[in-house]
Symmetry: C2
């Protein structure tokens, strides 16, 4: 891919919001899900931040990231309780009001009515949407996310977040899709490092990484090549296999 | 805890370094581990960032975070391959050289010798340590991490990272330890929101959160109170249980 094409490729950042992520109570799995969707759509995920439920931190992070990247995806903080302050912070970051959104309210009311849930003030807080934002569907529990300019605000519960992201994918610009190939072997990183370095030098448009790990108690080194040109990746994979064999290593299939 | 005590409590940020975290290939589990250790030691983890293997991004993130927090913990990028550039970036951020460290080199040589591994140039790159840094032990695979001023540089492989962190815990200032109590019930967030808000208003030094989830297919709402005063947490937990019962909810034990 040329540098021009890459410079036109949309970029993104993820903002994971919630004290529970910084206390270790909750293990985030949303970042990896969003990352894979971005690769498949040709959006470059450039960074992620994990921040607490502190309004000033959320607002400044939003403003920094939305100015820097094509898209920002937030997770967490859109429920009915006192620590759900993401909508308030997005409204503040954009300098707009946070009124009850009629369509959001009617979706909630229909959901509550069908389940015999009392539509109290706290539950209806979930209908507050920054002025000018469009709703993001929540097929799981009705309370919508929203899109404000280039910021997409999703729930933190993975099942809901995933449905919300999938529903907005058609709204995202698409760049060259990122592909990857993996060749796994039993060699140590130090054995292949020199060959990898040379391979990386010869293929500057491919991102080559090596990741040691274990599979069923057996050491396994995964050599991963990522890039937008599948033919080049296949060539790199072939060179990786050749390298492993020439070093006396075993390839895992 | 008084505000004075809290203002003297050490703070920290985590910098998770690696393209594999932003592609979704690798699911990070280091953040949650570090978070729990910080709570137990009385260090406040304020934020985490996930960034790619790009020198300028690593250097600027390091400089921003080390100026802002008492401690910065990095994970990833200290192996022998071309994409292992964390030591280079720390040296650049601090404006120091990156020589081979005699003690690091002798630890590596002993490890290699015992395993009949050839000490090639790539493997010895792992002995490059920023000038002025102290070593952090690696009981798993010898190649050390290091501490440079208030920045701790750890491996990305969880087992090694965990051993490295545990070995430096005695070096960290200790503040008031963060405790937590959890009361789980079958009520929805909207049912308890009003009572939680009032409880939070009455206990500003306690951080109250509510986290919906499932356990063995049964809906479960976890109400979590965090703070440094165990007696206050116990009182809050008692009030939470009373609230749940008065709303007709069931408490899970």
């Amino acid at each position: 891919m040329s540098n021009t094409a890459e410079s036109q490729t949309p970029t993104a950042a993820v903002l994971l919001i919630g004290n529970e992520l910084l206390s270790g109570r909750t293990q985030d799995i949303n970042l990896a899900f969003i990352a894979k969707r971005m690769d498949g759509h040709g959006v470059r995920l450039r960074e992620a931040r994990v921040i607490p439920d502190i309004p000033a931190v959320i607002v400044s992070s939003l403003n920094e990231l939305r100015a820097r990247y094509t898209y920002v995806f937030t997770t967490g903080g859109i429920g009915p309780t006192h620590d759900d302050i993401t909508a308030d912070c997005v409204a503040e970051a954009f300098g707009v009001a946070l009124p009850h959104h009629p369509e959001a309210e009617s979706r909630l009311m229909a959901y509550f009515k069908a389940r015999d849930i009392e539509p109290n003030e706290d539950r209806l807080r979930m209908a507050r949407i920054p002025e000018g934002a469009s709703l993001v569907d929540n097929p799981v529990s009705a309370a919508p996310g929203f899109r404000m300019d280039n910021v997409f605000v999703f729930a933190g519960v993975p099942r809901i977040m995933q449905a919300m992201l999938d529903s907005v994918m058609p709204q995202l610009q698409s760049g060259a899709v990122m592909h990857s190939v993996t060749v796994a072997c039993n060699l140590g990183e130090g054995a292949v490092a020199s060959a990898l370095r040379e391979l990386q030098d010869h293929h500057p448009n491919v991102d080559i990484g090596s990741y040691p790990g274990k599979l069923q108690d057996t050491f396994r080194l995964s050599l991963v090549a990522r890039g937008t040109d599948q033919a080049e990746l296949d060539a790199v994979a072939s060179l990786l296999r050749h390298t492993i064999e020439s070093l006396g290593g075993q390839i895992f299939h």
